[in-house]
Assembly symmetry: C2
Amino acid sequence: MSDFKEQDILGINKAFEQAHISYKKEGGIPIGACLINNLTGEVLGVGHNERVQKGSPILHGETSCLENIGRLPAKVYRNCTLYTTLSPCAMCSGTCILYDIKRIVVGENKTFLGEEELLKSRGVELIVVDDDRCKNIMTEFIEKNPELWNEDIGEE
Amino acid sequence: MSDFKEQDILGINKAFEQAHISYKKEGGIPIGACLINNLTGEVLGVGHNERVQKGSPILHGETSCLENIGRLPAKVYRNCTLYTTLSPCAMCSGTCILYDIKRIVVGENKTFLGEEELLKSRGVELIVVDDDRCKNIMTEFIEKNPELWNEDIGEE
């Protein structure tokens, strides 16, 4: 990948770590995220899906990550990369569009394909790394919890 | 408006009430929302922007309303109308697309124009009622708090 940055290994590892914590330690949905400032390399925060843990319909991996970080001015978001284990759904894609997060690194998009075309049409640089860890944990989760997964993506 | 339902007066009143509480009682951003089940007429819940109150970047009026209600299956969202005092931003529009909320009644879109075209392109019925209360409270808020408002919509 020509646009791969050194921070990307750290970012996707931290996102996967969050997915793993959510699933294996907390009994939740295995999707995690991490936000890194591209200018400083600083990890601003991490988060994971909290549907089960907090009974939340809006705390997906990506939104949970931003919520854990708290309020930031627009100029910070614009210089960040969001790492997420799974292709971002419409809510999380819309959140990136709102805050003008211009670069997203996605663990995998095989178990769920989110709004990647919408993101690209708004100028977001989207990199899918096709990470086996991310695919395997989601595949196992979906097989064991099809109803919970459908609820999380608004399907019946 | 040919598609106006009887529940819409209740819905937009409740959304405005939430905006008013946020701004006048809690010192927050005056945007509120309400979700009503079209099949039963039941008010499922309400919410308002919580950026100031909870230091949250993701609790806009609409997302806060869904968070307050908690987890719902897809089939419930599909038969709901979401009432919001202000034209929905990309995050809140994406949330409606995720959960297939097919009908949105908007108080006003003069102080901020959200992702209305995207919503319509996905088949959402969008009704803007041009409510003076919603316009006036946002106009006053934006004049007094331009930086806070810009932060909420990812602008500098």
